[in-house]
């Protein structure tokens, strides 16, 4: 699984396409990969996850309840969108991804395909 961060395929990279890169943790164990991503300010219904070919895309839109007429005086989160892409490797089973999203933290579990799971091979003494 590698981080691609590639620019969107469309040539017209408009301001709307600009997005922040959310920080992630990626852990791997024998059963698969666990990914955690920080997406603060994204409600559940504005988070989109999809796998196309072997590219996993995380896309989220920030919604804050700002009172009318508010002017920002100091900005550290300057874009209302997060996006990040990862290339999955072949042994990962993209069809069995489990996702949960709690208080701005996305947790993804991508299991390895059955045939790719490590197997202990019994050595028979003949």
């Amino acid at each position: 699984m590698s981080d691609t961060n590639q620019a969107p395929k469309s040539t017209a990279a408009t301001r709307e396409d600009a997005a922040l890169l959310p920080p992630v943790d990626v852990l791997e164990d024998a059963g698969g990969i666990t990914l955690y991503a920080d997406l603060p300010g994204v409600p559940k219904d504005r988070l989109s996850l999809h796998v196309e070919a072997d590219v996993l895309t995380i896309d989220g839109e920030v919604v804050l309840d700002a009172p009318e007429g508010m002017e920002l005086t100091h900005t550290e989160v300057g874009l209302p969108r997060y996006r990040r892409q990862f290339t999955l490797s072949k042994e990962l089973d993209a069809g069995k991804v489990k996702a949960s999203f709690e208080q701005g933290v996305l947790t993804l579990r991508i299991p390895k395909a059955e045939h790719a799971q490590p197997r202990r091979i019994e050595v028979q003494v003949v």
């Binding site: 590698s2 852990l27 164990d29 920080d38 804050l64 009172p67 100091h74 701005g104």
Partner: protein, 143 residues
């Protein structure tokens, strides 16, 4: 355990590494507190009758968040635990903040320390501080 590819295979991987490392060498050194801006990231805004502070602090239990206002200084402190990593697991990427944090915002003089509302939703702490009524702009009628 950290794993880093020792033998990057292609040009694209090398370019990616360059893209990551160049800003670090060109920009002035990082703050002694580690990150350039720290955790949580803050947005501060205002309206004529309130000051709004947004702290982007995902994955916290709101009960452990400590928000204090003293002499016009707002302090947001707490702790974020790192995800549990079993011994057999490998960490490929570890970018998320973990540990104790503390951020301080100096508020304007005209705020009312008795009317603060703090809400935590979708990983964002929103603190709204009303301004004192006598300082709000008002129209004076001419007799």
């Amino acid at each position: 355990m950290y794993y880093r590819s020792m033998f990057p295979r292609d040009l694209l991987a090398e370019l990616e590494r360059l893209q990551r490392e160049v800003p670090q060498t060109v920009e002035p050194g990082p703050s002694i507190r580690g990150q350039k801006r720290g955790y949580p990231a803050l947005n501060v805004g205002g309206t004529p009758n309130a000051v709004e502070i947004y702290a982007f602090a995902p994955g916290l239990d709101p009960a452990t968040l400590d928000v204090q206002l003293e002499k016009g200084i707002l302090t947001i402190a707490g702790e974020r635990k790192a995800p549990a990593v079993s011994e057999q697991a490998t960490v490929h990427i570890g970018e998320r903040f973990a540990g104790r944090f503390r951020r301080v915002v100096s508020l304007p003089d005209d705020i009312d320390p008795n009317s603060i509302v703090a809400k935590y939703r979708d990983g964002v702490l929103h603190v709204s501080v009303q301004r004192r009524e006598e300082t709000q702009p008002r129209r004076i009628s001419i007799q």
